[in-house]
């Protein structure tokens, strides 16, 4: 449904994203995860046809977003990061206008407006001027606008920002329910959000895709671990066993190297335990030659550390008090 092929975007000489490629199948929910400035919004602006890529191409439902822009845009619903709204219009007028621009008939618009008002819980504010709405309600109007015309493809840029905790849960459920009928790309920098709503996650950092997997697999790959690489001269089987017995080591493997070179081992340990000294003395005490030892920086983890791993908002909500705080 969405195909992104080798897309790059330069702002002057600065590459905001470089050589991004991925596909989203119909009905799939893809999470787009990355720290601030990673290039999430830039990618979304390109996918929705707001700005053309410097390089590469994007097709939506088979239509190229640049050369067949109008056709492609008909299939998209988009919630930009800034949640742009005409602040001097009422919710009803705003949705009506967006519907007209999407070429919907009057009857269809009226029918859909009452549906999305319901879905997004906006009933009480139907004829409120948007400038008088709180941030969270504006966010919901933005979502209502994006799903109004029942688009095949939904692009949501940080859709849960600014919504109160209970609504965040509801909004995530809402987004999840939209999958199946719609194809979704949802950007976020909140880790738990991604595991709650997405079937597949792309992690983007400094404009490049650095990982792509299911949330479960990613989580597994990330359960706090640290890696150390060593080059050891000695009997391979013995070395492996000795390394595995060092305290704190979860796993030790021999890496494929060039034939004839000194064998290299990779040791995974639990997070936060310093095992390098212990590893070194184990090797040396056994009489083997330690030719190299270095801690590998796990880029993925580093990036994850910068993501919001705590779902602070959710944790504040005590389930027993939900009714009280909903008022």
């Amino acid at each position: 449904m969405i195909e992104v092929n080798g897309v790059s975007k330069m702002f002057g000489a600065f590459p905001a994203i470089s050589d991004i490629s991925f596909k989203v199948e119909p009905g799939e929910i893809l999470g787009f995860l990355g720290p601030n400035g990673a290039g999430k919004s830039t990618t979304m602006k390109i996918i929705t046809g707001f700005m053309p890529p410097t390089d590469g191409n994007v097709t939506i439902a088979g239509y190229d977003i640049v050369t067949d822009s109008l056709e492609a845009r008909k299939h998209i619903g988009y919630l930009p990061e800034t949640v742009p709204l005409y602040t001097d219009m009422t919710i009803k007028d705003y949705l009506e206008y967006m519907g007209r621009l999407r070429g919907m008939s009057r009857d269809y618009i009226n029918q859909r407006i009452s549906e999305v008002i319901d879905i997004c819980n906006l009933g009480d504010y139907y004829s409120t001027i948007i400038s008088k709405l709180s941030k969270g309600f504006r966010q919901r109007v933005g979502i209502a606008q994006a799903i109004l015309h029942e688009p095949d493809v939904l692009v949501l840029d940080e859709p849960t920002i600014g919504i109160d905790p209970i609504q965040v849960v509801e909004t995530r459920q809402l987004i999840k329910n939209l999958g199946g009928e719609h194809t979704l790309i949802v950007s976020t920098h909140i880790l738990p959000e991604v595991s709650q709503i997405c079937e597949r996650v792309i992690i983007i950092h400094e404009g490049q895709i650095i990982a792509e997997d299911t949330p479960e697999n990613l989580a597994q790959r990330l359960v706090g671990s640290e890696r150390v690489d060593l080059d050891v001269k000695g009997p391979q089987q013995d070395v492996l066993v000795a390394l595995q017995q060092v305290e704190g080591v979860r796993e030790a493997v021999r890496l494929e190297g060039q034939p004839g070179s000194v064998p290299r081992y990779r040791v995974q340990s639990e997070l936060g335990i310093e095992i390098r000294a212990e590893l070194a003395s184990t090797v040396i005490n056994s009489g083997w030659g330690l030719l190299r030892l270095d801690g590998v920086i796990m880029s993925l983890e580093e990036i994850f550390l910068r993501l919001t791993t705590e779902d602070e908002l959710i944790q504040q909500v005590d389930p027993t008090q939900e009714d009280a705080s909903a008022e």
Binding site: K45, T48, G49, F50, M51, P52, L70, E71, R73, K74, I76, Y78, P80, T82, V83, P84, L85, Y86, T87, D88, D93, Y97, M98, R100, L101, R102, G103, Q145
Partner: protein, 236 residues
């Protein structure tokens, strides 16, 4: 179709905010004051030339004030991102906004007919020049609105948009003054470009095709530039 959707939204926008009323009222009172000066002066003639001349002058300010919001605000609110990702062509947006401003402008000009009515009540003005003058006024306004809209496309700030529009219009209005300082081809070119030089004939009751073509060309050129300006927004 999309053009009218956009135009209709903007017309409603004009009537739902005080800004347009204030601008219109200022325009009407200023032209009214000068109208009174004109008709009460000694040897006053029963003609619309005075008021049309003043109206022409104030169009330089009226037009950019009417158009300044149209595209600048979309950029400021970020709604441009929605508009430009909806299945709507850039020219449909620009044309829709332009039509809305043209309708607002026409409404203002229609109100000045009140003065003309007074002329008919208290004197016998020549109907020919009255009609041609108003045609000239409309054409002049149409061109000025296109210039104002270009200004609005260039900035997210309405004030900046208006100032750019007014500056360009002032230059276009008075290049004939510069034209009178030089001679030869240069003078002809400068006179040919001047808005004012093309207004005068209309007030004398002369409808010259060349003048009509001039105003329509200015309108077309500036609308085209506005559309291009919107397109290049995407590349930034």
């Amino acid at each position: 179709m999309n053009t009218f959707t956009v135009a209709w939204k903007e017309i409603k926008g004009y009537f739902s905010t005080p800004a347009a009323y204030i601008v219109g009222a200022m325009f009407l009172s200023l032209t009214g004051i000068f109208f009174v000066f004109d008709v009460t002066s000694p040897f006053a003639e029963a003609s619309v030339r005075g008021i049309v001349n003043w109206a022409s002058f104030f169009i330089v300010f009226l037009a950019p004030l009417l158009t300044m919001r149209l595209l600048a605000e979309e950029q400021k609110l970020g709604t441009l991102e929605l508009l430009m990702t909806a299945p709507v062509r850039d020219w449909e947006v620009v044309l829709g906004k332009y039509i809305a401003s043209l309708i607002m402008f026409s409404a203002t000009i229609i109100l000045t007919l009140y003065y003309v009515l007074l002329l008919y009540v208290f004197g016998q003005p020549d109907t020919g020049p009255v009609l041609s003058s108003y045609l000239g006024l409309m054409l002049h306004g149409a061109a000025a609105l296109a210039v104002g809209l270009l200004g609005s496309s260039l900035s997210a700030n309405q004030i900046v948009a208006a100032v750019v529009g007014i500056a360009v219009l002032l230059m276009l209005s008075f290049v004939d003054r510069v034209g009178s300082l030089v001679s030869g081809v240069a003078a002809d070119v400068l006179n040919g470009l001047s808005l004012n030089a093309h207004v005068t004939d209309f007030t004398r009751g002369v409808i010259d095709t060349a003048n009509v073509v001039y105003f329509l060309s200015i309108t077309a050129v500036f609308l085209f530039l506005t559309i291009r300006s919107m397109e290049t927004r995407r590349w930034r």
